[in-house]
């Protein structure tokens, strides 16, 4: 049986792939390094969940899942790394907001935090925008 958490994560990945923000480079819980040549990319991870039991006999719970949608990009000719990250963040936020239930998988989902980080240590600036969402669902 597939856990509701995985179902939700998979729905988000599918939504971001279909939005054509970074092509097919949308990963779920990827921990292996990517080459800078393969950027931009998005990695969706689930980091934390709290739950409240709803139905003892069916063992269903109302859950609040903290998800990170991490955008990784490098600076290109069209602008600074900050511009690139902001543009990609806008596309991700728009795609996510189009349906915060993810086809009825969640009751709701909201963006709670965005963290930006830039590394200047390589041949081109590489940055990340980590968007944290909290999704409420029953499973």
């Amino acid at each position: 049986m597939t856990h509701g958490r995985k179902t939700l994560r998979d729905k988000i990945v599918a939504k971001l792939v279909s939005a054509s923000i970074t092509g097919s480079r949308v990963y779920s819980n990827r921990f292996l390094a990517l080459s800078a040549d393969d950027l931009p990319a998005i990695n969706v991870t689930a980091s934390e969940e709290t739950s409240t039991l709803l139905n003892l006999s069916q063992k269903t719970a109302k859950r609040e899942l903290t998800l990170q949608v991490e955008i990784v990009a490098k600076e290109n000719d069209s602008g600074s790394i900050d511009d690139t990250l902001d543009g990609l963040s806008d596309s991700v936020e728009t795609a996510m907001a189009a349906d915060f239930t993810f086809d009825g998988t969640a009751l709701n989902c909201q963006l709670t935090e965005t963290r930006l980080e830039v590394s200047t240590e390589s041949e081109t600036n590489v940055g990340t925008a980590k968007l944290t969402y909290v999704a409420t669902y029953i499973y």
Binding site: R30, F31, L32, A33, L34, S35, A36, L39, A41, N43, E70, V72, K74, E117, V118, S119, T120, E121, S122, E123, T124, N125, V126, G127, T128, K130
Partner: protein
């Protein structure tokens, strides 16, 4: 101790001809040691990139001229800019590069 001959020996062994344009001055053709090692950036998600550096003999830039952030470099037909540099105190300097 004069390290000039040591730097010269390194340059003749490992160096290659590159173009160096100090900010506000004319382009120079000098011998320098270019390296571009792989580096894993870890600003959250690990990304493998390159870390290009250039070793130069500072006096090759001309009398009284030091490297500056923003100087232009062309190595193997790729354009770079100097983003940081460190003098070794013996006449050499290591320059950090980024693609221009």
């Amino acid at each position: 101790m004069d390290f000039g001959p040591v730097i010269d020996a390194c340059m003749s062994t490992f160096g290659e001809t590159i173009s160096y344009t100090p900010t506000g001055l004319s382009v120079l053709s000098i011998t320098a040691i270019f390296e571009s090692q792989s580096i894993t950036l870890d600003s959250g998600f690990p990304v493998i990139s390159k870390n290009p550096t250039l070793g130069i003999k500072v006096s090759d830039l001309g009398t009284g001229v030091n490297p500056k952030v923003g100087d232009a470099v062309t190595v193997r037909s790729v354009s770079y800019k100097v983003t940081d540099w460190h003098d070794d105190g013996q006449g050499g300097a290591m320059l950090q590069l980024q693609k221009a």
